[in-house]
């Protein structure tokens, strides 16, 4: 029975690198087995495929929701795109509100929580399994996810709590309680509690252990093997200094360096594409060919589709509810404006950054193709495509970039570590918000969560706790199950806000300041 659960847990595609120090092997084993038998049912439930297929229902759940929001709000992601850019630029911000949280700042902070390993390692996994065609489905899912973000972030701002001392708290738990009460729907409180529980688990897992684990894997890639607890303690120390000690300087440095890293990453990708400008047409040809014919990849066209959809969802978190927490501090009289701004997030994360990663991997010829048949060659076991140098995950991305610029692997390692760190800081905050929602605010209560969070950094970095991390990933997606039900129930409210705002924008009642 135990083995069955373990097998189910391992079957979950996660880009984990084995980094267990030998001395902790037996302890790891014990923890793994115990944890797997306790939580395996939950992991296999969340990631279980539809009967007779390999298509996980949770992926369908996210994509169907995104499609419904796209249709319900009349292609809002395209209609409102230019207006979203104006809002971010500050065209509609009252100059007298200078010094408050701007749309740009809310967007940048939310982005630094989502841009990360999903864009670098996740895409490589998708293209490595699903072929170039996965890129097409990933972009499509990213475009549709924009409507999910729009919905959740509008609600996040509308139902946030504004306290007397001027601080604000927002997120799904608040629109579940207040929004459901307003519409006279039952179970709002229950869903908020359920969401908060999943959010805490997701914060400790996907937002923490997974990040620490991958950061350690990157460091060992560059400097060679050493025990993970060393990385763990250093990381935990820094995280502790920031979230408990209130050491803003480190957070400030990261918040500045992360966007620079993101821009550098995209620019490098663009340079590589320009160096191979004559191949760009071919690469897009491959993407379309793969998207509709499969081109010999495992699972054919459906395999490419699952990989693309899955990675987009893992990467941009649209529908998960985390972004609604991050966006809710913005200064605006119109909640819908933050919805408009937030729809840029999946666009930047998935349509721009993820696509760059995929194009670089394709264009630098990392995937091995049979020149005669035009089909991709598969590895033994026929589940992944053969790559030059047999690289997988983040190593594949690293190899693709390094083929043009050999030194880039060091920059990439630094980028991965910084992205991991900023994702941890963001998720420590999301987790804390869920924690205080459940247990109330107060110094001691908050400190307990923060200390637990730091301990999990060490655990995540020092051991290859596959099932633990799989469980945490599952918890993030469980957040989406609860959150999307709430979005369905509350979407008429968003529609009302949208119609009111659009008519006032048209009549000129809402006008630019500049």
């Amino acid at each position: 029975m135990k083995n069955l659960f373990r097998a189910a847990a391992i079957a979950v595609p996660a880009t984990l690198a084995a980094s267990a120090p030998a001395m902790a092997q037996s302890l790891d084993q014990t923890i793994n087995d115990g944890f797997a038998s306790a939580t395996g049912w939950f992991v296999s439930f969340i990631f279980s495929p539809f009967p007779g297929t390999t298509f996980p229902w949770i992926v369908a759940w996210l994509v169907i929701a995104a499609t419904i929001f796209t249709v319900y709000f009349g292609l809002i992601q395209f209609r409102a795109f230019p207006h979203s850019i104006s809002l971010v630029k500050g065209d509609y911000s009252d100059p007298n509100d200078a010094g408050e949280v701007s749309h740009f700042q809310a967007l940048a902070t939310a982005l630094s929580g989502t841009v990360g390993l999903g864009n670098i390692a996740g895409v490589a996994v998708a293209v490595g399994i699903g072929g170039p065609g996965a890129t097409f489905w990933m972009i499509l899912a990213g475009l549709m996810g924009m409507a999910s973000k729009f919905t959740e972030c509008t609600l996040g701002v509308k139902y946030r709590n504004e306290y007397e001392d001027g601080t604000v708290s927002g997120g799904p738990m608040y629109y579940m309680t207040k929004g459901f009460a307003e519409r006279g729907l039952p179970l709002g409180r229950f869903m908020a509690i359920l969401f908060s529980v999943f959010c805490i688990l997701g914060a400790l897992g996907g937002g923490n252990m997974f990040q620490a684990n991958q950061a350690h894997a990157q460091i060992t890639n560059v400097v060679g093997e050493f025990p993970g607890w060393i990385t763990g303690i250093v990381f935990a120390g820094i995280v502790f200094a920031v979230i408990v000690g209130g050491l803003k300087s480190i957070a400030k440095v990261t918040e500045k360096v992360v966007p620079i890293m993101g821009v550098l990453y995209v620019l490098t990708a663009l340079v590589i594409l320009l160096m191979n400008a004559n191949m760009i047409g071919w690469a897009f040809g491959e993407i379309f060919r793969g998207a509709f014919t499969g081109a010999g990849v495992a699972g054919g066209m459906v395999g490419a589709l699952i990989q693309g959809f899955k990675r987009a969802a893992f990467s941009n978190e649209a529908g998960v509810g985390s972004a609604a927490i991050a966006h809710s501090a913005v200064k605006t009289k119109e909640p819908i404006t933050e919805g408009f701004v937030s729809l840029l997030e999946p666009f930047i994360d998935t349509v721009v950054i993820c696509t760059m990663t995929a194009l670089v991997i394709i264009i630098t010829g990392q995937l091995v193709m049979d020149a005669n048949t035009g089909m991709y060659l598969l590895d033994e076991g026929a589940s992944t495509i053969q790559t030059v140098g047999d690289n997988k995950g983040v190593a594949l991305t690293s190899a693709a970039f390094s083929s043009a610029f050999p030194f880039f692997k060091y920059i990439l390692a630094i980028a991965v570590i910084l992205f991991a760190f900023s994702t941890m800081i963001s998720w420590s905050y999301y987790g804390l918000k869920a924690w205080t929602f459940l247990f109330g605010e107060g110094q001691t209560k908050e400190l307990i969560f923060k200390v637990i969070f730091c301990i999990f950094v060490i655990i995540g970095a020092s051991a290859s706790l596959g099932p633990v991390i799989d469980f945490s990933d599952a918890a993030i997606f469980a957040m989406a199950v609860v959150n999307i039900v709430a979005l369905y129930c509350l979407m008429p409210i968003v529609k009302r806000e949208l119609e009111s705002y659009m008519s006032r924008l048209k009549s000129g009642e809402i006008a630019k300041y500049h």
């Binding site: 949280v101 630094s112 400030k252 501090a329």
Partner: protein, 144 residues
């Protein structure tokens, strides 16, 4: 003719010199002085989620502090000087905001103090005086 002078004031010694100059000028010509204090701020800076949550509260505290520690002592000190003194407290880019205050107040000139930086630091970071001289809608006086 009644002249209106906007003086950029940050509490520093050179700002004090600029203020003294403005007051004596206003006295001589029967004008008024607007003491402008700008809190450096960019809507495009990056903040952590925790900072976002507390921003509104912090802004209130910063304005309060600037009002009591920087502007109020000046107004009190100048209350018996015979010159009409008002204040302006804003967030923003220093140069742009001073220009905007001058425009909104209908001022005739802007007076600022000299920072005393020269050479490398100015080349890297630019100088308020330099950019103000280029951008101001009214004459600018720089007081050493």
């Amino acid at each position: 003719m009644s002249r209106k002078i906007v003086v950029g004031y940050d509490g520093s010694q050179s700002a004090q010199a600029a203020l003294d100059f403005s007051v004596s000028l206003a006295k001589a010509e029967g004008g008024s002085v607007v003491v402008a204090h700008v809190l450096e701020w960019s809507p495009y800076s990056f903040l952590t989620p925790q900072e976002l949550e507390e921003r509104h509260k912090r802004r209130g505290e910063e304005l309060e502090r600037a009002e009591t520690a920087v502007l109020k002592p000046i107004v009190d000190k100048l209350s018996g000087s015979g010159v009409t003194v008002s204040t302006a407290l804003k967030y923003g880019h220093i140069t742009d905001t001073l220009c905007k205050i001058a425009k909104d107040e209908g001022a005739d000139q802007i007076v600022i103090g000299r920072t005393g930086h020269s050479g490398l630091a100015t080349r890297i970071f630019g100088s308020v005086a330099g950019s103000l001289a280029q951008a101001a809608p009214v004459p600018v006086t720089i007081v050493p």
